[in-house]
């Protein structure tokens, strides 16, 4: 916020009347709090915000804010959000959901959202499990995990969301945990301010189906702020190197922030609209283009 401007919004302005129905202790409560804080700092009025999600426990988050929300279908939040942003680039567009929503059923949309690079902020609540459907394997579940769909232990390597999105060319990639609320609110705010597609992977504990080492307590004990490691967030290769440790370490903070973010799709679209304005036939006379001369 530029100096001299009065801070207009408080967290309560972004809090809806709906009472969250997450399990008591669920990490998503913390993500919601961090989101309120970030939005208050950003200072855009709720009605200028569109908040899109898929389906999952985590995907309920838009309803707990006063923004325009769209709790859509499983895995399709990113395409819907891109449609919103391209239709009205003036809006602040947020996207959120779970690890299953984003990296399993919705995983095919991620590389394209990144290479298109619209100015969106995507917050993944990565609890390494399917919460809403009661505890099945998620794509980030560790190898060998026993769940209701892998009672004998899973055979698959987990996906590494941080490494993926860096390989996809994402220009802003961060990670947080509700165990560090201040840090989490900060990275979300920074992601929102970042001009272009920004991803925040939040290790948000599922207290009901999650593993012990993925609970707040363990996070608090083990998290490693990237800042304290002297990581340079403008170095993509270094970021990818750190990202390799996704499964074993809990790094928090900004992995990568492009020092010179390329133009966004929505900005380019705007330019093209300006450039092409009035070049076609007026709508009422559009059929004239088919006249045989």
């Amino acid at each position: 916020m530029s100096p001299g401007v009065v801070e207009q919004y408080q967290t309560k302005d972004f809090k809806s009347d709906l009472k969250p129905i997450w399990c008591p202790g669920c990490g998503d409560f913390g993500v919601l709090q961090a989101m309120y804080r970030a939005l208050a700092n950003i200072g855009r009025p709720p009605h200028e915000i569109a908040f899109v999600s898929g389906i999952g426990c985590s995907s309920r988050i838009p309803g707990y804010t006063t923004a325009y929300g769209f709790n859509s279908v499983h895995g399709r939040a990113l395409p819907i959000a891109q449609g919103i942003k391209l239709a009205n680039p003036d809006l602040l567009v947020l996207v959120a959901g779970g690890d299953g929503d984003g990296f399993s059923i919705g995983g095919g949309h991620v590389p394209h959202a990144i290479r298109r690079n619209m100015d969106l902020t995507y917050v993944v609540m990565d609890n390494q499990i399917y919460g809403l459907t009661k505890g099945q394997l998620s794509p980030t579940s560790p190898r060998g995990l026993k769940t209701v769909t892998s009672e004998l232990g899973s055979f698959e390597e987990p996906v590494n969301p941080l490494l993926y999105v860096l390989a996809y060319g994402a220009n802003f990639v961060a990670q947080g945990t509700p165990a560090d609320m201040t840090g989490l609110a900060e990275v979300i705010e920074e992601a929102i301010r970042f001009p272009g597609f920004a991803l925040v992977n939040v290790r948000s504990p599922c207290v009901t189906y999650g593993e012990e080492d993925q609970q707040i307590k363990a996070h608090r004990a083990h998290m490693k702020p990237l800042k304290s490691l002297g990581h340079n967030p403008e170095d993509r290769l270094a970021a990818m190197d750190l990202a390799q440790h996704y499964a074993r370490e809990l790094h928090t903070g900004v992995f990568y922030r492009s020092p010179s973010p390329p133009p966004t799709f929505d900005a380019l679209a705007r330019e093209r609209q300006k450039e092409r304005a009035g070049r076609g036939l007026p709508r009422e006379r559009i059929l004239d283009m088919f006249l045989q001369k």
């Binding site: 709906l18 009025p45 709720p46 009605h47 200028e48 915000i49 569109a50 899109v52 389906i55 309920r60 838009p62 309803g63 006063t66 923004a67 325009y68 929300g69 769209f70 709790n71 859509s72 279908v73 895995g75 399709r76 990113l78 395409p79 819907i80 959000a81 891109q82 449609g83 919103i84 942003k85 391209l86 239709a87 009205n88 003036d90 809006l91 095919g108 949309h109 394209h112 679209a269 093209r272 609209q273 450039e275 092409r276 304005a277 009035g278 070049r279 076609g280 709508r283 009422e284 006379r285 559009i286 059929l287 283009m289 088919f290 006249l291 045989q292 001369k293």
Partner: protein, 594 residues
């Protein structure tokens, strides 16, 4: 002669379709009514290709039946098109003499055409232009020569077409044309046939195909957002939008798949814009889930499905009308989704506009069900007075309504004013989950029943839109035809011919295919004792859907068959004739026929 149907086939490189294009452009310019359909094998390049051009001094409703003129650059390719290029005894057959086939033993089992010309087309092309590539221009010359059509306009068109490539090529083609023309003059038809002159003034007609017309109509209707994924035979709509959307402040997006294609369009609609996506059967299947989301979230959206042969990948380049069940019923849960179908390039304008208007007025996805023939055939269109059409917009909440806004408020007509991000006070939760009036999730059976009822109730007025139905013929006719989509044009001609034969027949063509407008059909069928619902699908899907809601008279049967087997007016007339004869029998025999 006031009507002429020319069919031509050859290999990919032969430029057959290009010849057709030249011919129809010239004819359209001169003021003929004309229609051109193309058909290809599965190859991207090479392989067989064909086109049919029908010219007339009166409006034409379909590509016609048997060919008046057949042009075969080689027989193997020609024969691959089977019923798409039907030759009869009265067809003038022109073919490449190099094929070595004797005029008296053409490979056309059971047919002996009246006039047959073996023409050294390739030789003439090389002689005139030094290249085989001019074969199609020779063909144009032959046609202009024998049937007296559009000579000047064809030459003007050729000149324009080759101008960029240099004067030499223009001249070469002029020579090829003249050589063809001369051959025709030197070998006159036994029964001379020459087209009458058209009436209208030159240059007044539009010429385009269904896909471009649809895209243009969408622009007219205020559509500012297109997103989709390429698929034959609908991609041209995306191609139009990715090029032109920007000129109107809109945007277009080629997405990574069909879910993203419809998802982004739905997002744009949520953001307050008129939006559309386009696809064909396989893509529609993938869009199913988000179509359901659009229904429960009550968001306007137009989804174009250009039908091709199915199931699955099926016959991607052929017309069929077999996606109707899918269009009407492919959603889990109870959903009512309007389905509109254009019947020709010309009415694609109005039907597309209606689709947008209905989507906006009722806050619903609308399925615009075109088919490969309508979408990809070229047609002359008489100038459309666009000022007589209204462009509708969604009903947004008033300032007062925003004071105490509930997005899904139960209103009398079931339509709730809709806000969008950016509108202060209109903030709400859109959701695919069942919700209360504010958009908040609910698991209440009572609320679910109320919301289902609302979503169905709001669409009820559609069923009274008699302007979305075309009924022709005498009100009390005992014989009837019902047809939709591209087959409607065939039935229109069949009904006219049957009437001129003295049969007591009427025709109903719905633009609104679903929901079924019970009363309109009931009224139509009241006098009917026999007839046909004519469709290009194995199952006869409209016939079945009508039965769901209407007591279709027992004597009205489904006349349907698989795609790529086009109907001809004359066979439908024949069916009507037999039905009329059967009606003369004592009533019992008809009742027991079913």
């Amino acid at each position: 002669m006031d009507d002429l149907v020319i069919g031509m086939a050859g290999s990919g490189g032969d430029g057959i379709v290009s010849a057709g294009e030249s011919l129809i452009s010239a004819a359209a310019y001169e003021g003929y009514h004309a229609m051109m359909t193309k058909s290809f094998g599965s190859q991207v390049r090479g392989g067989e290709s064909s086109c049919r051009v029908r010219l007339s001094t009166r409006r034409v409703h379909n590509p016609g039946g048997n060919l008046d003129v057949a042009v075969a650059l080689n027989w193997e390719d020609f024969l691959k098109f089977g019923a798409e290029l039907p030759v009869s005894g009265s067809t003038v057959v022109i073919y490449e003499s190099k094929t070595g086939v004797d005029p008296s033993s053409l490979p056309l089992p059971g047919v002996t055409p009246k006039e047959v010309f073996a023409v050294p087309i390739g030789d003439m092309a090389r002689q005139a232009a030094g290249t085989d590539k001019a074969k199609n221009t020779v063909v144009l010359g032959l046609i202009a020569g024998w049937f007296g059509i559009a000579r000047e306009s064809i030459l003007r068109g050729l000149a324009k077409k080759f101008a960029r490539k240099g004067a030499a090529l223009v001249e070469a083609n002029e020579r090829a044309f003249t050589l063809g023309e001369k051959f025709a003059k030197d070998h006159p038809l036994a029964t001379p046939r020459s087209m009458d002159k058209p009436v209208g003034r030159p240059g007044a007609k539009l010429l385009t195909d269904g896909n471009d017309m649809c895209a243009a109509a969408a622009v007219f209707g205020g559509c500012d957002f297109f997103s989709g994924y390429p698929i034959t035979p609908s991609s041209e709509v995306m191609q139009f939008y990715t090029k032109h959307a920007w000129e109107y402040g809109g945007a277009a997006l080629q997405c990574e798949d069909e879910m993203a294609g419809i998802g982004a369009a739905l997002g744009a609609s949520f953001a307050g814009k008129k939006a559309m996506t386009a696809t064909s059967g396989p893509g529609l299947s993938l869009k199913t889930e988000i179509l359901g989301l659009a229904s429960i979230a009550e968001l306007p959206l137009v989804v174009l499905d250009v039908q091709r042969g199915g199931p699955s990948t099926g016959l991607p380049t052929k017309a069929e009308q077999s996606d109707l069940f899918q269009a009407a019923f492919s959603a889990h849960g109870d959903v009512l989704r309007p389905v509109l179908a254009p019947t020709c390039v010309s009415d694609t304008f109005q039907v597309t506009l209606e689709a947008f208007n209905i989507a906006e007025r009722y806050q619903t996805p609308v399925l615009l069900l075109s088919d490969q023939e309508v979408a990809q055939r070229k047609e002359t269109v008489d100038p459309i007075d666009t000022s007589r059409f209204t462009v509708e917009h969604r009903k947004v909440p008033t300032e007062t309504e925003l004071q105490d806004y509930a997005r899904f408020r139960q209103t009398e007509d079931g339509v709730s004013p809709i806000s969008h991000p950016g509108m202060k006070g209109g903030n709400y939760q859109g959701a695919g989950i069942e919700h209360n009036e504010h958009g908040n999730p609910t698991a209440s059976g009572k609320m679910h029943a109320a919301m289902n009822e609302k979503r169905f109730r709001k669409l009820a007025p559609l069923k009274r839109r008699s302007d979305l139905f075309h009924i022709e013929g005498s009100r009390n006719a005992r014989l009837a035809l019902v047809a939709w989509g591209s087959v409607a044009g065939v039935c229109r001609e069949a009904a006219e011919r049957a009437a001129s034969e003295g049969l007591d027949v009427k025709l109903l063509v719905p633009w609104l295919v679903y929901p079924v407008a019970e009363e309109i059909y009931r009224d139509f069928f009241a006098s009917v004792r026999a007839g046909f619902v004519v469709e290009l699908s194995h199952q006869g899907q409209l016939y079945r859907i009508l039965r769901m809601f209407v007591d279709v008279p027992a004597g009205v049967a489904s006349l349907s068959r698989s795609g790529a087997n086009p109907f001809q007016p004359r066979e439908i007339v024949a069916q009507l004739r037999s039905a009329a004869v059967a009606l003369q029998q004592p009533a019992v025999s008809i009742a027991s026929e079913d």
